[in-house]
């Protein structure tokens, strides 16, 4: 690779550098990325539906979601716009617990997360189960604000954050790996920050 004349860079500690995926920089803010305005969602009308294609399999109201076991995940998150934030703390319901509550086994290997603003994004099922993804309702101990995806967003922290759909309303199992909103616009189908899978033809 070519060296940039006169560039030395600003180094962070070895421990931080080890936690930072390639091409990312560390921020202490919590930037926001979305395709349009944050929708206003009334909890009385909020629901979360798991479906197989067009067929609903299970549905929860906001109160029903609160009755499920609430879990905690803490760790680092990475956005494709190149910021990473360390030591974030989330609470919500593991996808495993939703599936168990409904007595469901994933019927296919792929899923689309669906949002109230008509956003969607694809995530393979193995990345949603086994304690790897949750329907998050709290950030840093407080209910999720609308700009960060509240009342509930998907959290798949081991993938770039656009996979963690904000304003979540459902999860649809699909027969094939179907591209979602950003994936149709040139972003990667999987989005592993450690492999820098930002754009569709990144390896």
């Amino acid at each position: 690779m070519a060296t940039t004349r006169g560039f030395t860079g600003r180094r962070i500690g070895t421990e931080s550098a080890r936690r930072l995926p390639p091409g990312q920089y560390l921020t202490h803010d919590f930037p926001v990325l979305s395709k349009g305005p944050a929708p206003t969602i009334d909890l009385a009308h909020w629901s979360f539906t798991i479906s197989h294609g067009p067929r609903p399999l299970a549905r929860w109201s906001w109160d029903e979601l609160q009755a499920l076991p609430r879990s905690r995940w803490a760790g680092d998150i990475h956005c494709v716009t190149q910021w990473s934030k360390f030591d974030t703390e989330w609470q919500g319901v593991w996808i495993d617990d939703l599936l168990a509550a409904a007595g469901l086994t994933p019927p296919t290997g792929f899923a689309l997360a669906l949002s109230y603003d008509d956003y969607d994004t694809n995530v393979p099922v193995p990345d949603l189960i086994g304690g790897r993804a949750m329907v998050a309702t709290h950030f840093d101990g407080a209910p999720l604000t609308p700009e960060h995806g509240g009342p509930a967003r998907l959290l798949v922290p081991h993938l770039y954050l656009w996979k963690s759909a904000k304003w979540l309303r459902g999860l649809r199992f699909t027969e094939r790996d179907e591209a979602g909103f950003w994936e149709l616009r040139g972003y990667h189908m999987y989005g592993d920050p450690w492999r820098q899978q930002r754009y569709s033809d990144d390896p």
Binding site: T4, Y25, V32, D117, W182, R185, Y199
Partner: protein, 248 residues
């Protein structure tokens, strides 16, 4: 327009030559590149820039393209004092340097004349960068009505303020520019001396007499969210509003 045969994929890194540096505002400079292998861009797209230190350490950032399609590659870089990449561009980079970049990237926050209008562009500070590219693209075929709402500390902090005002003067019945000047007295009679809020935005839309078919909002997050909610309140349908947000 077909791309030259040696054009690279937008995700492939390529070496570009820095050919121009122009002051734009007190904190922003425009950087012009010769990137012969880059495919043609659309207004609103960005490039990724990657800097490499002698030991292999790399830093990567995204910058909006400000040039109109077909007029080269120009980026606007705001100097973030505690930043890593923007101070390099402002303090170290010189004409003739080789810089690695890739693009054009982004397929959502994009407008081209064929998309039509009415077109509403709302930007704060360096968030005006992709909107300037759209205004310049519009000027090549100035057909649809455009309302551009800018926000900056002073008129001199609006990037390319004079060029935009010149576009407005040339196309007075097609393009209207209103600036919210937040830290000084507005110098032009149509500008306002306060931040954009729901009532001011509603009033400007009413004066314009139309609802936009396409609305693009770019800037710092609180600005973007406040403007987007104000547009919804003014009756602009959510699917018409596209946002791009900078920083935290």
């Amino acid at each position: 327009m077909s791309a030259p045969p040696d054009t690279l994929a937008p995700t492939a890194w390529q070496e570009a030559t820095l050919v121009r540096i122009d002051p734009v505002t007190a904190h922003m400079r425009a950087f012009g590149f010769d990137a012969p292998r880059m495919a043609p861009h659309r207004a609103g797209q960005h490039v990724d820039v990657r800097l490499t230190a002698p030991d292999g350490y790399q830093a990567q950032r995204s910058y909006s393209i400000t040039s109109a399609p077909g007029t080269g590659l120009q980026l606007l870089i705001d100097r973030i004092d505690d930043g890593e990449v923007s101070p390099f561009f402002h303090d170290v980079a010189a004409v003739g340097d080789t810089i690695e970049l890739r693009g054009p990237l982004g397929g959502h926050f994009v407008w081209q004349p064929a998309d039509g209008g009415p077109l509403l562009l709302v930007g704060g500070g360096s968030g005006l960068a992709p909107l300037v590219a759209m205004a310049r693209a519009w000027a090549t075929a100035p057909e649809v009505p455009v309302l551009m709402l800018a926000s900056a500390r002073t008129w001199a902090d609006v990037p390319w303020a004079d060029e935009l005002a010149g576009l407005e003067a040339r196309h007075a019945r097609r393009l209207r520019l209103v600036a919210a000047i937040t830290r000084a007295q507005p110098v032009r009679t149509q500008d306002i001396g306060q931040r954009w809020d729901a009532s001011r935005i509603g009033a400007e839309l009413q004066r314009w007499g139309m609802l936009p078919r396409h609305a693009f909002v770019c800037g710092a997050n609180p600005f973007v969210e406040a403007v987007a909610q104000a547009l919804l309140a003014a009756g602009v349908p959510a699917p018409a509003i596209r946002t791009e947000r900078y920083g935290g």
